[in-house]
Amino acid sequence: KVVNIGYSGPLSGGAASYGKDVQSGILMAIDEINAAGGITVKGEKVTFNLVSLDDRYLPNETATNVKRLTSQGISTIFVPHAGGILTVQPLATRDPNFLLVAYSSEPKILAANNPMTLMLPPRYDNYVAPFVKQEISTFGKKLGMIGTTSAYGKAWGDVVSAEWKKQGGTVGTDNGVDYSTTVDYSSAVTKALAEKPDVLFIGGPSQPTALVVKAAREQGFKGGFIVMDQAKFEQMNQVVPQSYLNGAVGVLPIAQFPGTQVFVNQYTRKYKKIPTSEAALNYMGMNIVAAAMTAAGTTDDAVAIRAKVGAAAASLPRTKSIFSIKGVTAQGHVDADVLAAYLKDGNFTKLRLPGLK
C-alpha cells in the first residue's frame, strides 16, 4: 500500500530555496523507508509518496493546499512556515482532521495548544541566554541590532535584547532590515557600527546574513556576532571566509553532531549540497511519523497517529533522528537536543541550552 504524505511550502519565489531544503529532508526519509521495503502497519507493507504543493509562503495558499490535500484523503501534512501553520491549525482539528507537522520555531504555534500539531524545531527563545552570556563575557556589553525584520527575526531580536539588558548590557538602536528585499546592507551596517557596538545581533536566511557579516568586517568591525537560528554557519561559510565569523554564536552545524556522518554523506551525495537543520529536522519528523503509524497500527487515523508520536520519537534510533530526542511535550513539541556553538578560529565550542543536558 502506498500512503501519501502532504507538503505545502514555498517551492517558487524568494523562499524556494528554504522550501526545497525542507522538502528534501522529508523526501530523503521517505526514499530510505521505501528502499528498505517500507514499514509494516497491521501486517501490511506500507510505502510512502510525498505530494508537494507550492504555497509561495502565502498563508491563504497554504490553506487551499491543505484543503486540497485532505480532500485527497491525506492525513499527514508538513508545513514549514509560521503564517501557514497558524492559518491551518484550526483546520487540523476539523473534519477531516490531519496531523500537522510544523516546521517553525515560533512559540505561538505551541501556545495555540492545538492537539493535532507536531512541532519539530526547538523554540528559539531557548537559545538566547547562553548566546548572550558567551558574547558579553568575550566581547563586551554593547549590542548592535541588525536582524532581519521578518516576524520571526523581530521576535528573536526582542528576546535577545531583553536578555542582553537582563545580563547587564546596553542595546543600541534597532537597525534591522528586511533580508529578503534589501539590495545593499552596507548602509544599515554603517549606521549600526556608528554606535561602536561590541557585538552585533544578525540573522535571516544564511546567505544574506553572511553578507551582513561581510559588510561589517569590511567596515572594520572587530567584535562578535549573535546569529539567529535561521542562519546556518555551514552555509554562511560558503559566502564569507570563516575568519569573518570568528567570535560568532549560533546553531551548531549538523555535521558537528556525533553520529550524523552517514546522514550528511548520503544527503550530500543525493542533493549535492550541505544538509542543514531544515533537512535534518524534517528528515527526523518524517521518521517519527512513520514510526508513529507503525505503533498506532493505522496510516489514516490522524488522532491515533498523533497519540503515538511521543513514544515513536523517544524510541527512534539515533541514525534516523540525527539529534538525540527525549520525547514530545504535551503541546506537541519535539524535545530534541539541538546544540548551539561558539565559533573561534574554525573550531566550534558547544554551548548547552537550558533545559537540555
Binding site: 517558487s12 530555496s17 541588525i146 539590495v183 556608528a194 569590511e218
Partner: protein, 288 residues
C-alpha cells in the same frame, strides 16, 4: 562626520548599480514604450550566465562579463522578436503582462533543479582590494561599480544624442510608421534597442552581484526599484534615469539613517510619490 562620508560612499555605489540597471530599462520603456517587467529577469539571468562562465568554465571575470552581456543582449533580442514585436500595436498593459509571464518563465527555468536550482550562488569579486582612509572604507568592487556606471552612462548618452543610429531609436519611439517611411528598418532598431538593454542588464548584474547574492528572484526587487527610478527621472530620459537612480539610492541610504534602516524601502518610495506629486511628469521631462 565619518558616518556621513561612509554613507555617502555607500549611496554612491548603490546609485551606480541602480543606474546601470535602470539605463537599459529606460531605453526600452521610455524610448520604445514597453514596460518590460522582464528586465529584472534579464538582470538575473545575466548574473547566472556570468556565474556559470566564471565558476564552471573558469573564464576570466571581464571576459565572462563581456560574454554574458552579449548572451543577454541576444536573449533580449529574441524576447523582442517573439513576444514584444507581435504586441507592438497592443495597448500598454499587454506587453507588461507578457513581460511578467516571461519573468515567471525565466525565474522558473533558472530555479529548476536541473539548471541552477533555487539556492543562492556567490559570484566572486574580481577586485579584492579595499580603499580605506580615516575610518571610511570602500571595497574595490564598489569603486568599479561607480566608475563603470559613469562610463556606461556617458557612452549611452553619446550614442543616443550624437549618432544617427541613436536618433533612429528615438525616432522610432515617437512614430513607428514615420520612421519606416524615412527608410529606417524599425525591426532592426527594435532589436538593437533590446540588445543594448539586455547587455546593460547583464553588465549591471555582473558588476553588482559580487557585492550581493545571485538567486532566481534577485530581479524582482530590482524591478520595482528601477521602475520607480525611471519614472522618477522622467520616462525615456537617460539623464533622468541616472539622477533618479542616485536620488533613490541617497534617499534609501540617508532615509535609513534618519528614519531607521527598516524603513529605507518606504523612504525610497515615499520620495517617488512626493516627487511625482509635485512634478507629475518626473524630474527630467518637459511639459508637453
Amino acid at each position: 562626520m565619518i558616518i556621513f562620508f561612509q554613507q555617502f560612499l555607500n549611496a554612491l555605489a548603490l546609485g551606480g548599480a541602480y543606474s546601470l540597471v535602470a539605463l537599459g530599462l529606460t531605453l526600452v520603456y521610455g524610448v520604445m514604450k514597453i514596460p518590460n517587467f522582464a528586465h529584472g529577469g534579464l538582470y538575473m539571468v545575466g548574473a547566472y550566465v556570468t556565474w556559470a562562465l566564471l565558476t564552471n568554465l573558469g573564464v576570466p571575470y571581464f571576459l565572462a562579463l563581456g560574454l554574458s552581456a552579449v548572451t543577454l543582449g541576444l536573449l533580449a533580442m529574441l524576447l523582442e522578436r517573439v513576444v514584444f514585436y507581435p504586441l507592438r500595436a497592443a495597448p500598454h498593459i499587454h506587453p507588461m503582462i507578457a513581460a511578467i509571464g516571461v519573468l515567471f518563465f525565466l525565474e522558473a527555468v533558472i530555479a529548476h533543479p536541473q539548471v541552477f536550482g533555487a539556492d543562492f550562488k556567490i559570484l566572486p569579486s574580481p577586485v579584492t582590494g579595499m580603499l580605506s582612509f580615516g575610518g571610511i572604507s570602500l571595497t574595490g568592487q564598489r569603486v568599479l561599480i561607480i566608475l563603470a556606471s559613469l562610463v556606461v552612462m556617458l557612452a549611452l548618452f553619446y550614442f543616443l544624442k550624437r549618432t544617427t543610429t541613436g536618433a533612429t531609436i528615438e525616432a522610432m519611439a515617437q512614430n513607428r510608421e514615420g520612421a519606416r517611411l524615412v527608410g529606417i528598418n524599425v525591426s532592426r532598431v527594435a532589436s538593437l534597442t533590446f540588445f543594448i538593454s539586455g547587455a546593460l542588464a547583464a553588465i549591471a548584474a555582473s558588476l553588482y552581484a559580487p557585492t550581493s547574492l545571485v538567486s532566481p528572484n534577485m530581479g524582482e526587487v530590482m524591478n520595482l526599484k528601477v521602475f520607480a527610478i525611471i519614472v522618477l527621472g522622467g520616462m525615456g530620459s537617460v539623464p533622468g534615469a541616472i539622477v533618479g537612480a542616485f536620488l533613490l539610492a541617497f534617499a534609501e541610504t540617508f532615509g535609513g539613517v534618519f528614519v531607521g534602516a527598516n524603513f529605507a524601502d518606504v523612504v525610497g518610495f515615499a520620495v517617488l510619490v512626493l516627487v511625482l506629486a509635485i512634478r507629475p511628469q518626473g524630474l527630467f521631462r518637459r511639459t508637453a
